[in-house]
Symmetry: D2
Subunit: 320 residues, 4 copies
C-alpha cells in the first residue's frame, strides 16, 4: 500500500494536533498507509519516521502545540541531507507528504519535489495568519482567545487605578492578531504594520476622553512595529497617566485548541488528503470565501499576504 | 436627527452585547441618533426606550447574555399593543430599528413594518445556528467552546474508569452544536436530527473497539432528538459499560463572548446600520461564503435552514 | 530495596495525579522503590502492578482524573481475592501501600492489614469533602472552581431575562460544595443537608427583594437533599418567575487541578511517605488547623464528618 | 447610627470586591451604617465617600481588581490632609474604618488613629503574600491560578521543540508566588529570594536529565531576584538549548477571583466587622493555623514576614 507521511514544521500552533489526528484517520479511510515524522524536517533526515495507528493519535485532539514536535532545520537546505530524507521515505514506500506549517516549510518541500518528485500537500499553520492566499491559518483563533483572556485580566487592574496599559502581541509582519485583539477587547489604541496612525490625533482624542471621564487606557501593539516600549513612554508623558507595558510572549502560542481551530484542522486535513489522492502535486490548502481549495505552492510563494480590508476599516479609528 | 433604536429579543446569546456596543457607536458615526430598548419587544410597548451614549455601552463587550435584557412577548401579537409601540417610537423621532435575535423576532418586526412602515435590520443570534440563509448566528462559537470545556472535563472522569458518558447539547431542530461538538471533542457517537444513525452498526463498531483496548466512550446527543436517556440505557445494556448522562443545559448559553463572536458581532452590526442607512427595509444580515450581505426577511421566513453538508460528511461515521 | 505501591481508588478527583507524581518522587528520595497499581483495588488482585520511574509520572501533573484509573471492586471483599493481591505484592517485595481515595478504600485496606499485616497510608480524596478528621480532601477546590464558572455562566442568562435558576451540585450527605458555591457565587437560596431552611421565610424575603427591583434568582441545592426539582417548581409557583433547573453532574469531577489541589496533593503525599517511613501503620493523612498529621484509620472510621461551623454561620441567611 | 467606612488601598488584588460586598452586608447586619470610600486614601481626603446600599455592591462578587478603585496617596503623609479626611468622616458620623490592602495602608491608618482616634480594622490583600503574621493574603490564589494557566500554555510550546523557558512571576521581596508556581507546574528550576541555589549543581542535574531524554526545561524566577534575564542567557549557554524569557507582568493581578479568594474574603470581612464591633482598635485580621484572629497593627509592623518552611523544603531541590 502507498504511504503518506504526515509532519509538522516551523513555529508551533494550536490546531496542529487535531490536523495530525484527522490526517491519519482520513488517510486510512482513503486506502493509504499513514506515517508520522517526528521533529519536522530534521526528522525526515534523521529517519524519525514510523507507521501510524489510530491509537498513536488518540487523546491528542485537545492538546496545544504539536506532539510530533517541530524544528528549524538548516541541514535540509543541503542536497545531500535531502537525499538521505528521500531514501528514508523510499525504503518505506512513502510517496506523498503532508506538511502542517508555514511558507518556509512549504518552500523546503517544493525544493524536495524538484529534486525527487515526491508530491506534498501543505496545511497553513501559524498564529501570525500571514500566509498568502488563505484567509485562515491554524492556531489563530486559539491565540486570539488566549490574548483576550490576558487583556480582560489586565483590564481589571487598569480600571482599579488611573492607569494605561500597552500590550504587545505577536505578529512580525502582520497586524492581524493586534488589530483583531484591539477590536475584540475594546482597546483605545492599536499600532499595527497595516494601520496608519497619527500620535497627535490619538493624543487629542484621548485627552478629550479623559476630560470626559475616561479613567484608563488599553493600547495594543504588534511586535513587528517595535513600538510597544516607545508607546508606553509616550502615553506616560503625553497623557500624564501611569503606564505599564506587558509583552504577552509565548503564552500566545499555547493552550488547548478552540473549537474553530479543531474544526478547521479537520477540514484542512481532509482537503490535503483529497488533494494528494486526486494526484495533485504541491498544493497548499487554502480557506477562501468560506471554501477549502488548493493553490499551487508557487502561487503562494509568489504572492504577498493581504490582510482583510474590513478589519482595517473597522480598526482605522484606533490609529487616529 | 433621525433615530435608530437597538434591541435584543428571543433567547440570549453571547455576542449580543458587542453587537449592541458596535451598533450604537457606528450609528453615531453614520449621523443617526442611537436609542436602546430594554426588555425586547415588551420594552417597545412599555416604553423602556432611552437615548444611548457611548458611556452606556462601555464595559459591556466582554459580558455574556444581553445587558439590554430580552423577553418573549405575547402582547406584541396584538395590533393595539404594536400601535402603542409605534407611538413610543414616533414621539422620539425613531424611524428605524435594529433587532438582534431569531426568526420569531424578525417576523414580529416584519408585521410591525406592515402596520406602520418602520423599517428594521435583523442580526441573527441564536446558539442553535438554525436561521435560514446565514452560515453563522451570534453565540454559536461561545456555546461550542463552553461545551468543549465541559466535554474535556467529563473525559477526565471517563478515562479514569471503564465508563461511557452521554452528553446532551442544546439544539431543538438543528444538530449543529451536537455534530460540531462531537467532531471537535473526538466523540465516538453523535445523534443529531440531520444525521443518519444505525444502532446495530454503532454497537458492532464499538464492541470491536473495546475488544481492541477502548476503555471509555463519549456520545453526544442533540436535545431535539430526545434520544439522550434512551442512548444512556442502550450503551449500558449493549456495551456492558457503566454509563452516565449529563444534560449541559443553560450553561451553554452564557460565558464571556469568544473573539469570533465579538468580531462577527461588529461586522453584523456595521452591516445592519449600513443597510438601514442605504434605505433598505427589513433585511436580515447574513454571513455567506465569507461575505456579509442582507437578505429580505420574507426570503429568510420562506426558506428552511440547511446545515453545512461538509459537517454531515465529516460526522457521518459517528452514526455508523 | 523495600517497595511501596501507590494506587488510586473510589470516585476520581482532581489532585490524584499530582499526588501520585509526588508520592513516586518522594518515595525514591526516601530510599524505597515505588510501584504503581493500575485500576485501583481490582488491579491489586489482577496484578496490574509495575515498578515506577520518574518518566512514568512526568506530564501528569496538570491532568484531571487519575491516570492510574480507579474502580469499585467487590471481589476485594472476599478473602481469597485479597490473598491473591497479597501474593502479587509479596513477589515484588512490596511491604507498604499508599492509597488515594475515600473511606471505603481506607476500610478495605484496613481489612487487608488485619489479614496480612501490610501497612498503608491513606490520602483523602473526594469532591464531597466529607471524610471525617480532615478539613480538606483532594479535588474539592477544583470542583468548586468548575462549579463557579458554570454558575457565572448561568448568571449571564439569568440576568438577561426575569428568570430563576436552580443549580444542583454534587454532595450526597454533605453540603460543603453547595454551601461554598452558594456563598462564593452570591446565590439567593441554598438547600444543603446541614442547613436549616424555611421556605415560607425564603418566599417572604425574595418577594420583598423582587418588589425592590430584584430581577433574577440563583438557587443552589445539594444532590443529597433531593430538593432540586421540587425547588424549581416551588420558585415558579410561589415567586411567579420562569424557573429552570440545571444538574451540573460529572462536569464537576474533572478539569485540570487548581494550584491548591496540586500543592495539597504534594503535602499529603510527603506526609504519607513519611508516615510509612516512620513505621506507622494504617494512618490517614489529615489537614487540620493548617497542619498535616496522621490519624489512625479506626478513628476516621469511628467518627462522623463535621462541616466547618463558620460555613454554616456564613450561609445561614440563604435558608431563611 | 454609627458609620463604618470601607475602602481598598495599595496594589489591587482579586478578592477585594467580595471583601467589600461582604463587609457592607455584615456591617448592616451588625447594626452599623456602611459607607464606601472611592480611590483609596486619596478619596478620604477628596471626600469621595458615600453611604452604601446592598444594591451598590451587587454584581461585584465575580469581578477582578477593585470597583472602589485604589491609589497611592502621598498627601496622606501630611497632617493637614489627614485632618481634612477626619472632617469628612466626622460630618457623616463615621467612627470606624475597614481597609483592604497592604502594610503601607495599615501604617497610614495607624498614624491616622494616633492623630484622631478613629479605629480601623485591616484586611491583608496583596498577591505577594508577604504581610507578616498571616498565612494568607487576598489575591494570592487567583494570581497563582492565572500563572498556572500561563505556564501550562507555555509548556505546550516548550514540548513542541527542544526548548527552555524562563518565566518571571511577580514578588518583590517574597518568593511565595514563584516557589508555589514552580512546584505546582512541575518546573525544573526555581529562583526565589528565600531559596538557596547553586547554578553548578543545577547545570549538572539538568545535563544528566537531558542525557536521559529530557527535551525541555521550565524555570520560574521571582521578579525580586532580578535573575530572569541572566538565567535565560545562562541556560542557553550552559545547557545549549534554545531559551526564551516570558515576563508575566500585570496579567497576574487580574481575573475573576477564585472560590478560595471569595471565601477568604468573606471570612476576613466578617472578622474585621466583628473586631470593630467588639471595640478593638487597629487590628489586622490574620489567618493562622486555620483560624481567623486579629493582631495589633504594631505587631504586624514590627515583625518580618516568614515564608512557610514546608514550601522551602518542598522546593529545595529546584535550586540544586
Amino acid at each position: 500500500m502507498e504511504g503518506i507521511a504526515i509532519m509538522t514544521s516551523g513555529g508551533d500552533a494550536a490546531g496542529m494536533n487535531p490536523a495530525v489526528k484527522c490526517a491519519v484517520e482520513y488517510t486510512i479511510k482513503k486506502g493509504f498507509k499513514p506515517y508520522l515524522v517526528r521533529n519536522g524536517l530534521r526528522g525526515l533526515i534523521d529517519d524519525k519516521i514510523s507507521e501510524a495507528t489510530r491509537a498513536d493519535v488518540s487523546g491528542i485532539l485537545h492538546r496545544g502545540g504539536t506532539v510530533l514536535r517541530s524544528s528549524r532545520s538548516t541541514r535540509f537546505f543541503e542536497y545531500e541531507h535531502r537525499k538521505t530524507a528521500y531514501e528514508n521515505l523510499q525504503k518505506r514506500n512513502i510517496n506523498k507528504l503532508i506538511i502542517i506549517g508555514g511558507d518556509g516549510s512549504f518552500n523546503a518541500l517544493n525544493q524536495f519535489y524538484e529534486d525527487f518528485k515526491v508530491p506534498f500537500a501543505g496545511i497553513p499553520a501559524t498564529i501570525d495568519n500571514d500566509i498568502p492566499g488563505t484567509d485562515y491559518c491554524l492556531g489563530v483563533d486559539t491565540a486570539l482567545n488566549v490574548i483576550r483572556e490576558s487583556v480582560d485580566s489586565i483590564r481589571d487592574t487598569a480600571t482599579s487605578f488611573n492607569r494605561a496599559f500597552v500590550i504587545e502581541t505577536m505578529g512580525r509582519h502582520c497586524g492581524y492578531l493586534a488589530m483583531t485583539s484591539a477590536l475584540s477587547s475594546g482597546a483605545e489604541i492599536c499600532i499595527a504594520p497595516e494601520l496608519e496612525y497619527d500620535l497627535d490625533s490619538i493624543c487629542k482624542r484621548l485627552k478629550e476622553d479623559c476630560a470626559n471621564g475616561r479613567e484608563y487606557i488599553i493600547a495594543i501593539a504588534a511586535e513587528g512595529t517595535n513600538m510597544a516600549e516607545y508607546l508606553t513612554r509616550w502615553i506616560q508623558m503625553n497623557l500624564d497617566m501611569d503606564t505599564r507595558l506587558t509583552v504577552l510572549g509565548h503564552v500566545q502560542r499555547g493552550g488547548s485548541p478552540t473549537v474553530r481551530d479543531r474544526i478547521m484542522a479537520y477540514k484542512f486535513a481532509v482537503a490535503a488528503v483529497d488533494s494528494l489522492a486526486a494526484g495533485n502535486t504541491n498544493e497548499i490548502m487554502i480557506y477562501k470565501e468560506g471554501e477549502f481549495t488548493g493553490m499551487p505552492v508557487h502561487e503562494v510563494a509568489g504572492s504577498k499576504y493581504k490582510i482583510d480590508p474590513d478589519l482595517i476599516k473597522l480598526s482605522a479609528h484606533l490609529g487616529k
